[in-house]
């Protein structure tokens, strides 16, 4: 006798929260005097409910009835965001070499020390292949993005600039650099073409910044990067990344003060990615980092109140936007699956293709080569599928976690190297818990826009709005 495999619909009419076909709403403590969070993890729906009204809301309310009408649409929105996107950005390493030897770099030392530059011919050919590929996969009005990345892309400056010149109408270009080689001519060239520029600075003083970012003889990079920051003052497409380790987390508030005083428009306070052993050795403890990180966010709020000028912390802003407008998020690390291999991919100086730059030092995750393999097939290769198939539903404790779609359990390369499995939790679980709780507290107090850039919601429409008296 054969069994039927048809899924039988439950006869529940979904009249009650948390049973049968009713909405699943998990209450979460957000550390607020008045409100608790009420979240449907699968649809990333959130609400804030007065603590003394939680029972009434769960028992039946305007909130519940309005959410019932929208839950299917929200589920569909998350399905699209998580599984239906196409790559539109490439992190392009034009050289293997770097003039710095930072403690936490995820590019193997031998490659950075003795590696090769990509030739002009190869670089232009790679861009021609990418242009042809994106022309077939992206809408005509959408420009794909190329971010020259490292190692240190400015070591291959002439070739990179030649490529930007040649393809400036075909791609949006960005450059992530350690800043030590950015002279006036380079900055003139890049800013006059609207190239986004990212610098790396790990401290507000040479003593702190140079602990982790220095050259091969131990000389720090701070003074040179500071000069580049001065040259870039006033340029809107400029940002600074501070990699947070156990060497500088205690100074995050002072670092925020420093960036604000330098008129940095946007920064990131990125916990160090522990893909390689050098980074693992200086990993900050999760709960200590969370404490310093939230204090730094408080400091950005104080600075905004005092001066009227924001310093946006982009990685927190992205978590906040991931809550209030999931489809408006800009960064695709803190979503599950992450953007690696599905929203962007990385290209090494030898033309090898990896889901993300974090995997460049991990040969098992090479999907193919841009010069010798079909790009579309590379993007569906086994190494890519492993990464794009990593999702929070398969990870403990994420699959039970109410904030799993505000966090995404980043990052797969890091999880794989620390825990030996892609399907394992990220390295900074508590930091994400605290960021989400903090974000919900800001919303409860009506302060969220102080942490976002002007116009962040241009082009958005409101799909849910409830504020009951």
């Amino acid at each position: 006798m054969s069994r039927k495999s048809t899924i039988i619909a439950a006869p529940s009419r979904g009249r009650y929260a948390n049973t049968g076909n009713g909405p699943s709403l998990q209450p979460i403590d957000i550390g607020h005097d008045t409100y608790v969070g009420l979240v449907d993890p699968d649809t990333a729906f959130w609400s804030l409910v007065r603590k003394d009204k939680l029972g009434d809301v769960i028992a039946g309310s305007d909130l519940l009835s309005q959410y019932r009408k929208k839950s299917a649409a929200f589920a569909q929105e998350m399905e699209m965001l998580r599984f239906k996107l196409k790559p539109s950005a490439v992190y392009f390493n034009p050289t293997e070499r770097c003039n710095l030897n930072c403690d936490y770099c995820y590019i193997p030392e031998e490659m950075r020390k003795n590696g090769e530059h990509m030739s002009e011919g190869d670089l232009l050919e790679a861009l021609a292949i990418l242009k042809s590929y994106f022309r077939k996969t992206l809408p005509k009005e959408s420009l794909p993005q190329i971010v020259f990345h490292g190692s240190e892309p400015m070591l291959n400056r002439e070739v990179v600039f030649s490529a930007i010149e040649r393809y400036q109408n075909d791609f949006r270009f960005g450059l992530q650099t350690n800043g030590t080689l950015l002279d006036d001519a380079a900055i003139d060239f890049l800013t006059s073409r609207g190239v986004g520029i990212g610098l790396s600075v790990d401290g507000h003083t040479a003593e702190i910044a140079n602990k982790t970012r220095h050259n091969w003889t131990g000389e720090g990079s701070f003074s040179k990067v500071l000069a580049a920051m001065e040259r870039l003052r006033g340029y809107s497409s400029y940002n600074v990344i501070c990699t947070v380790t156990n060497q500088n987390m205690q100074s995050l508030c002072q670092i925020v003060d420093f960036f604000h005083s330098c008129e940095v428009p946007v920064c990131m306070l990125n916990p160090v990615r522990c893909t390689q052993s050098g980074a693992q050795n200086i990993k900050p403890s999760d709960n200590q980092l969370a404490k310093y990180y939230l204090a730094a966010l408080d400091r950005t709020y104080e600075l905004f109140q005092k001066t009227g000028r924001r310093l946006v912390v982009a990685n927190f802003a992205n978590v906040l936007i991931g809550i209030v407008a999931p489809t408006a998020r800009r960064l695709m690390c803190d979503i599950s699956p992450c953007g690696a291999g599905r929203c962007f991919f990385a290209l090494s100086a030898k033309g090898d293709i990896f889901p993300c730059s974090e995997f460049i030092g991990l040969p098992n995750f090479k999907g193919g080569n841009i010069f010798t393999n079909d790009l579309a097939k590379t993007l569906t290769s086994e190494p890519f599928s492993k990464v794009t198939g990593r999702k929070v539903e398969n990870i403990e404790p994420c699959r039970h976690c109410a904030v799993r779609h505000f966090c995404g359990a980043p990052c797969p390369a890091e999880a794989n190297e620390i825990h030996g499995s892609l399907d394992s939790v990220g390295a900074f679980c508590e930091l994400y818990e605290e960021q989400v709780r903090y974000a919900l507290r800001q919303i409860a107090d009506g302060k969220e826009n102080a942490f976002l850039w002007d116009g962040w919601d241009l082009g958005t429409v409101t799909t849910f709005n409830l504020s009951t008296p």
């Binding site: 008045t34 729906f45 959130w46 609400s47 804030l48 409910v49 009204k53 309310s61 909130l63 929200f74 996107l85 539109s88 950005a89 992190y91 993005q145 971010v147 990345h149 960005g174 992530q176 800013t191 073409r193 609207g194 986004g196 340029y235 809107s236 497409s237 990344i241 946007v266 990131m268 990125n270 982009a314 990685n315 209030v324 407008a325 999931p326 489809t327 408006a328 800009r330 960064l331 695709m332 690390c333 992450c338 929203c343 962007f344 993300c356 919303i443 409860a444 107090d445 009506g446 302060k447 850039w453 958005t460 409101t462 799909t463 849910f464 709005n465 409830l466 504020s467 009951t468 008296p469």
Partner: protein, 35 residues
């Protein structure tokens, strides 16, 4: 505005737009284009 929100029994909102998020945490693609 804050006073009104703090007294509300429940707060919830959500916005939607065309997806254009592409970036990883190494580089910020916040602006559409440099000036």
């Amino acid at each position: 505005m804050n006073k009104t929100i703090q007294k509300a029994e429940a707060i919830a909102y959500r916005k939607k737009c065309e997806v254009n998020g592409t970036g990883l945490s190494h580089y910020i693609l916040m602006q559409k284009k440099g000036k």
